[in-house]
């Protein structure tokens, strides 16, 4: 680490899917310090002190080259390696795809179970969406469906719901925020928006509430309605807000619908937006996308044709959103090697598994007992430069090298493994 201090401006933060890029971060002898605009999660991410970490093979410290060779050896001998985690940046994901292809593996992201609640709806009925800047300037009605937005994106209310200024005169005071789900409205009530309405059902009943709302908007009569305390009058009041809105946005994070067939809630949201768009303007805005989830899905899609859950076992991409869920495969004892990449937070550790594991992780990550090879890697936007795709899957941001450490990038390590694999697999 260099002793000279340096101030970085317009720093993009890789620690949640919003990727705010108005941070100032200073590097000095003690490490990194967020000087401007960081939320708690950003401060925790940038200012985390990295524990010392060395590449290891079966718990023994080794030089990086030896760990890379050991990883290539394991992958070369594996019949079905599972490339999971995939919390990385665009370059890391490109390298993971190339390696998965060459080794006939399966590709899936650690958080794709939630993303798949969205993809299933997209792939069956389509949808209409907005993006962060569009919502910030335009939305006069924001309906938050079952989601604790502030827990996922601490600055969402400051930057998107109640910005200082709007291009079209839709100031915070003129905005209405409706929250479907109890216990989720604290941040909204602190934001200086014109009106906050809470429909206090259980958060995962939001889809049911929206279903009733759609029925009322279409003029159906419903009797004896009580969805976790939400009454018909509440639904009708919301219907009126929807009718009055010029540009309504329904916000959700698919992780909120963590129940069997949670995609049905997303389907109701897409359906509500579709119904309302026939006469006025409405759009959805899915949130989440931390740990490089949006990046992993996007790169996988443009390179393979499919949003993750792809197997290259036959040499060609084969897509099966059920079969190639790595979480499911691990539980069912499928595959013979886990290759886990996690470069942002130490909490995103590999699931418990009996499979031998190769872990490319940020220092401090908890390793499973079966770890054969551990390679500490840098965090994109902290230890090395990179690029990351935002949760709306439209905007991508350049990430700076803030010089926290000299740890290699996931891309470099994965490409190194692929190169070693290539030598290994040459005929003698």
């Amino acid at each position: 680490m260099t002793a000279t201090s340096e101030l970085f401006e317009s720093v993009a933060c890789p620690f949640c899917g919003m990727i705010c890029d108005d941070l100032s971060v200073e590097r000095n002898a003690d490490g990194l310090k967020v000087r401007k605009a960081g939320c708690g999660r950003a401060v925790a991410g940038f200012e985390r002190k990295l524990p010392a970490a060395s590449p290891q093979v079966r718990g023994r410290d080794v030089p990086l080259s030896e760990a890379v060779a050991a990883a290539a050896d394991l992958i070369g001998k594996s019949a079905l390696p599972l490339y999971g985690g995939l919390a990385t940046d665009v370059e890391g994901m490109r390298a993971a795809m190339a390696l998965a292809e060459r080794s006939g593996g399966v590709v899936d992201h650690a958080l794709s179970e939630a993303q798949y609640r969205n993809f299933k709806v997209l792939q069956s009925v389509g949808w209409t969406l907005s993006t962060l800047t569009e919502t910030r300037n335009r939305a006069d009605l924001i309906i938050i469906a079952g989601t604790d937005v502030a827990a996922l994106h601490q600055r969402f209310f400051e930057r998107i719901v109640a910005p200082k200024e709007s291009m079209f005169g839709v100031t915070a005071k003129k905005r209405t925020v409706v929250i479907i789900g109890k216990g989720l409205d604290q941040a909204a009530r602190k934001a200086s928006v014109g009106k906050v309405v809470t429909l206090p059902c259980k958060p995962d009943q939001a889809g049911e509430v929206i279903g009733a709302l759609r029925a009322r908007l279409r003029g159906f009569s419903l009797d004896k309605l009580d969805i976790g305390g939400v009454k018909l009058a509440d639904i009708d009041a919301l219907a009126e807000l929807c009718r009055e809105a010029k540009y309504g946005v329904v916000v959700w994070a698919p992780a909120a619908f963590d129940v069997p067939h949670g995609e049905m809630s997303v389907d109701q949201i897409a359906g509500l937006v579709k119904d309302l768009n026939t006469t006025s303007r409405f759009a959805g805005l899915p949130l989440g996308g931390a740990e490089g989830a949006t990046t992993a899905a996007s790169v996988a899609t443009w390179q393979s044709g499919y949003p993750l859950r792809v197997s290259y076992a036959s040499g060609a991409p084969e897509f099966d959103p059920y079969r190639y869920s790595i979480a499911r495969m691990l539980e069912a004892g499928e595959g013979d090697l886990l290759v886990w990449t996690s470069s942002y937070s130490p909490e995103l550790a590999p699931p418990a598994t009996k499979l031998p594991a190769i872990v490319l992780g940020t220092p401090g990550i908890k390793l499973p007992q079966s770890t054969e090879v551990f390679i500490p890697i840098g965090t994109p936007g902290v230890d090395h430069a990179g690029r990351l795709i935002r949760v709306d899957a439209v905007v991508s941001l350049p990430l700076k090298n803030l010089g926290r450490s000299d740890l290699p990038s996931a891309a470099d390590v994965l490409s190194g493994i692929e190169a070693a694999l290539w030598v290994w697999s040459l005929p003698c």
Partner: protein, 554 residues
């Protein structure tokens, strides 16, 4: 390394060479003037073969968010077309919206050496270039979309100094690493966000009060005065609407001598005659275009089968969503910058409307007199996937084949069309103009699209087959910068291809109001919005070719 291609029949219309037997020499990636005493390191005997410059697609949706939405949307499109990796090439899949690597391989295997993405949203430019970076074999470039972005609409409605508008257009081309500028449903993408469902040429935007005519004229004039070679690339108002031919005729007249390019004009050439109030406007439009030398077009030919439409035109894509097949349309409002719509579509020869769309495109090709102002496109994947080009070329070159296909159409569409009366058959010279020389000249690619001294060694060699579809589907040899990359229609060497950009001069002080605008309204900072060269040139991958622009006019 000096290579020689011996004895081919050369079609190089940019240099007025038409089927003459010529030897071609390439050294260090460039074509040399004749070198009679040279001792080539490698000689290819191509006697009897047809030689053209590598083909150039000036309008093909190959990279950017809407394509990845389309890919994500349509697993059923890919599942029938999986491609395994080889020691040389990456795996992939896809029919209408293939994966990035496959797009590059398949274009090269069809004799193409350059492809231009026409609808790059500045807010999405980084991803568009990342996807193009994963599209090997061909050169790439992209057109920045302007005209529904709020910064420009504010400039226009506040009647800002025209020089500031020019500076902003040029700044955007630099920031997004673009070679040209496109306008899509001028102002309409923004108007749709204000719940306007149509915006005709002289209709006012509900919020800004400006009209599509003003937007087109300002952008077209800005590009001309900035010295950008490719004129404003216009996807006009009212795409797909019966009767939109009147808007198109008005747009042609509105240009009033300014250079413009009207893209996928087939989708804008619809009349309202007949029992079904849907008819061809191609004869009237082409009649006017034949007399209007400042305007070039590409066709956006429809060919039958399953595809996926993907466009920045959120307003019109939302409207055609009800015709989606399968039924899963996607619409997006994007970043106070633009929008997009992705609608899967199946064109059927037994459908009256689809059959008529097919005939309207072909009528346009056959009636249009000047091949230098007409480019061969299907607006991939909107009218059809790009690998239908050889079929389209056969339709243009072979009247009896065209008649045979015509017989399969919906009977009512047949009875309405003048197509059987059009006897024209395109020549190889004309095909070479439509698919290489014309696009290269229009885009300002000085060293592409021809085979003269100094040109890049991008060369395609075909077997002279009477079945022009077979001929153009499987070239025998394709060279990229003098390297053999395709043999008998299969990739033999993988290359990366360059990214072409244009960088007109501008006054840097435009960044002051831009910085203020970004800080007040956007969620990305001005600095991070801009795409650096080293994001395209990464490690040993990628290169940038800055094509020349003319001097700026005050």
């Amino acid at each position: 390394m000096l290579i020689k291609l011996t004895g081919g029949k050369v079609y190089d219309p940019a240099n007025k060479v038409s089927g003459e037997l010529r030897d071609i020499y390439v050294e260090d990636g460039k074509i040399l003037a004749g070198v009679p005493d040279a001792r080539p390191d490698q000689t290819y005997d191509i006697r009897g073969k047809v030689v053209m410059a590598g083909a150039i697609d000036p309008h093909t949706h190959i990279g950017g968010g809407k394509m990845t939405i389309a890919r994500m949307l349509l697993p059923e499109d890919h599942q029938g077309d999986p491609v395994a990796r080889t020691e040389l090439t990456r795996a992939g899949c896809g029919h209408a919206v293939p994966s990035t690597h496959l797009t590059g391989y398949r274009y090269a295997e069809m004799g193409y050496t350059a492809c231009f993405e026409p609808a790059m949203l500045p807010a999405n430019a980084r991803q568009a270039h990342m996807e193009m970076g994963d599209t090997p074999m061909v050169d790439k470039g992209a057109f920045a979309m302007l005209g529904s972005d709020d910064f420009f609409l504010r400039q226009l409605s506040e009647k800002k100094d025209f020089e500031a508008i020019k500076d902003y257009v040029a700044w955007t081309m630099h920031a997004a690493q673009a070679i040209a500028v496109k306008v899509v449903n001028p102002g309409g993408i923004s108007a749709f966000k204000f719940n306007q469902r149509k915006l005709d040429l002289d209709e006012e935007h509900a919020y800004y009060g400006v009209t599509p005519r003003q937007i087109i004229l300002n952008l077209a004039r800005a590009l001309k005065e900035l010295g950008v070679t490719h004129p404003l690339h216009i996807h006009g108002c009212n795409l797909g609407v019966p009767g939109n031919m009147e808007t198109t005729l008005d747009t042609i007249r509105a240009a009033d001598g300014l250079p413009i390019h009207l893209t996928h004009i087939q989708f804008h050439s619809y009349g309202t005659e007949g029992d079904r109030k849907f008819s061809s406007g191609a004869p009237q439009i082409v009649e006017l275009l034949n007399k209007t030398p400042n305007i070039s077009i590409d066709v956006g030919q429809v060919l039958f089968g399953q595809t996926c439409t993907a466009s920045g035109d959120s307003m019109r894509q939302y409207a055609i969503g009800k015709s989606a097949h399968p039924k899963k349309p996607v619409t997006m409002d994007i970043e106070c910058d633009a929008g997009c719509g992705v609608v899967p579509m199946r064109y059927r020869d037994k459908s009256f409307v689809n059959a008529l769309q097919w005939t309207i495109g072909l009528e346009t090709f056959l009636l249009f007199e000047d091949p230098w102002r007409l480019f061969l496109t299907t607006d991939h994947p909107n009218g059809a996937p790009f690998y239908t080009y050889p079929h389209l070329i056969r339709l243009l070159m072979d009247k009896s084949f065209r008649d045979e296909m015509f017989q399969k159409l919906n009977a009512d569409a047949q009875s309405q069309s003048i197509l059987p009366s059009l006897k024209r058959e395109y020549t190889l010279d004309e095909i070479a103009i439509l698919t290489r020389a014309g696009p290269a000249r229009s885009l300002g690619l000085k060293d592409r699209g021809h085979l003269g001294a100094g040109a890049a060694g991008d060369i395609t060699v075909y077997k002279d087959n009477k079945d022009r579809e077979a001929m153009f589907a499987t070239p025998e040899l394709v060279f990229k910068n003098g390297e053999l990359i395709v043999k008998n229609g299969k990739v033999v060497k993988v290359v990366q291809g360059a990214t072409h950009v244009a960088r007109p001069d501008y006054d840097r002080s435009i960044e002051r109001p831009l910085k203020d605008y970004f800080e007040r309204f956007h969620t990305v900072s001005l600095e991070n919005f801009k795409l650096a060269d080293d994001e395209i040139v990464t490690g040993d991958k990628g290169s940038i070719v800055v094509q020349p622009t003319a001097a700026r006019m005050a």
